[in-house]
Amino acid sequence: MAVEKTSINPPHLLWQGGTQPLKAGYGKLMMWIFLLSDVFTFSGFLVTYGMIRFGYPNFSEVVAGMTHKTFEFSQLYWPIPEKVFKAVPLLHGVDAPLIFVGIMTFILIFSSVTMVLAVEAGHRRDKADVEKWMLWTILGGFIFLSSQAWEWTHFIHGTEHGLTLADGTTIYGAKLGANEYGPPNFANLFFFITGFHGFHVFIGVLLNIMVFYNTTNGVYQKRGHYEMIEKVGLYWHFVDLVWVFVFTFFYLV
């Protein structure tokens, strides 16, 4: 390609093609840099969560003799996750700590595998295989988002007994001002961090639908390569990666 005469750069400073920098496509490289900036964002959330959580006293320091088995909710200390997240759809009243969030984790890991299989099929330029695995990935994304919607609904509505405060009033579920599980910051950080992650999943599903549409229309077949699947795949795996961290620090620790 001829260098344009109007360019302000002298010709010897223009990249004339040949081996790409870092031997990766421009779009792919930029997707990685974007994901790196997203790492910074989520790390900020993680630091905020950790500092605020550690700012509250441990429940055993507030109520002498309380153990994980006899734990009761209070606004004075942070709740333990297995007491908060223990409901499963259609199993009303059944005590199943962390089971539902375990299922959500499985769904996201599985959709990550189907995504990487779509990328692999793209390397082989196998249109039918790319379509098949992209459909599974989109389905996984939808199931995850629906699960999160159910979990949020349950979290907001709360339990039947609620939390009775010292002044006699009872609060049910979680609002931004107060919640029955612990200090206001507990619910606020839950909404903020899982919400931000859920928004990432939502964008990911939209991108997946877009590349599925293009694959079906033969756009990448005509282009000769399926790098777009790889780029969107990077984003999707990152969403899975963030969930791995959210799962550990929100639901297990």
């Binding site: 630091v47 297995e82 595998v113 299989l117 200090p183 910051n185 550990t248």
Partner: protein, 107 residues
């Protein structure tokens, strides 16, 4: 298009990808076993330590195999990994230094 269709359909080679799937699944299962198997009243920090290590192992497999970072050029790998190492350092530093950040002091 005619020459494309004449090319034989390549067989997929996905064994290593499914292996990573099973590794991730088993690690998550182990996390559950630790969450319910170890007494949190006495071994709180042991549990947290195990969770953090398992999370980092899972992150290694997702980034290295699923996101193919392991098969990029060395300069590419360090472009991504080096800033993340500094960020991890920042997280640890802020959490360790932040232990005197007491919410109750603000009331």
């Amino acid at each position: 298009m005619a020459e494309h269709s004449s090319i034989e359909r390549q067989q997929p080679n996905t064994k290593h990808l499914w292996k990573v799937f099973w590794i991730l699944l088993i690690l998550t299962g182990l996390e559950f076993a630790v969450a319910f198997g170890i007494d949190a009243d006495h071994y709180k920090w042991t549990k947290i330590g195990i969770f953090v290590i398992m999370t980092i192992i899972k992150a290694y497999y997702i980034v290295g195999i699923f996101m193919h970072l392991g098969s990029e050029t060395k300069a590419f790998i360090w472009t991504i990994v080096l800033p993340i190492i500094f960020v991890l350092w920042l997280i640890v530093a802020l959490l360790v230094e932040g232990d005197y950040f007491g919410v109750e002091k603000f009331f």
